[in-house]
Symmetry: C2
Subunit: 344 residues, 2 copies
């Protein structure tokens, strides 16, 4: 009975707190504006992109406005590579795979003679890429499978601690876009749930997405390999198998969104043709919608690439963005700062 | 610039509201207990099951206690059939499939001569079930595929409005367990996220889980068929294909949990051997864990079945529950009320 009494007290505490929360909510809506108001997107230069973001968020958040959308339906989806962090000179996950080939090589003496492993060990990226999708798949299977899910998460975290980007000499997780970090926070502060929807590996992103982006594991959608439940000496584990489960890219993105989220997003953010269908799916819904495309135009501070780039190819989706009036971010012009470390 | 100013104001409002929320939180923790405290689980009789629930929730919520778990990690997973609503005399989704065979029959004259459709049209459940898994799969594919995701959600909602349970004459969504509704609300009030992890179809549950259980679409995990993204006259749709994507049952449940949630739950609730691996996976994690099994013991108010039941077989998992000390709910003894409508 003691437990019941305790729980009863907790319920009452919750009721009081509930009333208080309602009061706070009313206060927030009533809008007690004072001096010292801050720009939530300080790393964005003034211009049409920044204004379009504000206009959309205001529109769906205004409680009595015609475009109001309840917070539960304010789902925003973000591509990762090239949208939240850089993706040059190669997808960062490929850098992980290549480093992991080296780390695992002592267990696989046969790799010295076998492509694409031989090239990976020699640091010969060109030969690896010339092997096409098949070679990449072989590398991914050899480096991403065979462990338990917990061991793999540790391997990702260990790599991120020691690996450095070839151009900046920084940890890869330093190379996230400051303007997008601000945008994620701004959307969440306005009741949005922010999801990653990436062609990258779901289990490659989850170990660090919460720390770096504030996005918890359950809001990460990505490509995956199959896993298998096993008891090892009575302890349950999930073993990662060398078999593709789902490719969350191109037409797979709306499929992954539906599978994981079960609601159509109201805002989508991408940077390449791999995001076309996600942007279409999002913007074709009823009511206020927002679609934004990042154009990498800054060869000096980041990279400049678009229609013919082997990584982050931005071609069809750029045409469609122009036709449909989606917001196109000109990185060089629209972003005051690229990386957080520039501010330090 | 107007938009920027507006957004600045919103930021300030949020800061004030943020302070206020912190105050409320402190108030809630400080525990201002007053008269009129209510039992959060009034439909549970006093006893060891109810006390075990209270003890666990108190333990993980006590901010300075040794068992404290941060709210973000308070993931609770619930089986659906037999755990949140009834599953006799057949899974409710099978009743949907059989009714849908009848609804679609005019488009399929060949079904009159072809099993298992012929039996389904004649209401001959025995012959359908004698056909085994293969027959059920054929029924599911014929009745769950071929539409867009939006059309399918409408079909489910339409069916729930008109269909009635053969024993109670009630809508199927009336046959949810009042004690479990209270438990869901109690856990959420204590910072838990409550997920469904069911062998049933993810798209069969999502259209009503939020209204009935307060569980939003993104917190429903279930079995699924594949979908395909298409443009129809320029409008994007997701078409449901007659091909299994994932079976979220038995050893599939920890796999589905990892895929969707990416964290190991700290509490799991089930009622059959199909939940064994989910309960193992949950309870093997570090720190405070809770595993609960519902034993259907009430032939009068609900149904009584266990070790040899063709539906909701409770055998291996009952043995493991006894060995591992999991909480076993005796429905007849532990539940004061079964369905919400008994209280009306």
């Amino acid at each position: 009975m003691q437990d019941l009494t305790k729980s009863g007290k907790h319920t009452m505490k919750r009721s009081l707190a509930g009333l208080c929360f309602i009061f706070c909510f009313v206060l927030a809506l009533a809008g007690v504006a004072t001096a010292g108001e801050a720009d939530p997107l300080p790393s964005w230069n003034e211009g049409s992109s920044k204004q379009a973001i504000f206009r959309f968020v205001e529109e769906v958040s205004a409680p009595r406005g015609p475009g109001f959308i309840p917070p539960a339906e304010r789902i925003a989806v973000f591509d990762n590579d090239g949208t939240l962090w850089s993706e040059q000179p190669m997808y960062f996950q490929l850098a992980f795979a290549l480093d992991r080939v080296k780390a695992l090589a002592p267990l696989h003496p046969e790799w010295k003679q076998k492509q694409p492993f031989k090239a990976a060990l020699a640091g010969d990226l060109k030969t690896v890429l010339d092997g096409g999708e098949h070679a990449l798949l072989e590398l991914v299977m050899a480096t991403h499978a065979g462990t338990t899910t917990e061991e793999f998460a540790e391997a990702v975290k260990d790599w991120l601690e020691s690996a450095r980007h070839p151009k900046t000499g920084r940890p890869y997780t330093d190379m996230v876009y400051q303007p997008m970090l601000e945008l994620l926070a701004y959307l969440r502060a306005n009741g949005f749930e922010t999801y990653i929807v990436s062609g990258g590996g779901i289990e490659f992103m989850r170990p660090w997405a919460e720390r770096i982006y504030g996005i918890p594991p359950e809001q990460v959608v990505g490509s995956s390999i199959k896993t298998k439940y096993e008891l090892r000496d009575g302890e349950p584990v999930l073993v990662r198998l060398p078999e593709i489960n789902f490719i969350d890219d191109k037409a797979g993105k709306p499929v992954g969104i539906n599978q994981h989220i079960g609601r159509r997003p109201i805002a989508a953010f991408g940077n390449s043709d791999g995001d076309l269908q996600m942007l279409q799916w999002t913007s074709a819904g009823d009511g206020a919608r927002f679609a934004l495309l990042i154009h990498h135009t800054d060869a000096e501070r980041e990279w400049a690439y678009d229609r013919k780039s082997p990584i982050g190819r931005l071609d069809k989706v750029l045409d469609e963005a122009h036709v449909k009036g989606w917001t196109v971010v000109d990185m060089k012009k629209d972003w005051k700062v690229i990386y957080p470390f520039e501010q330090q």
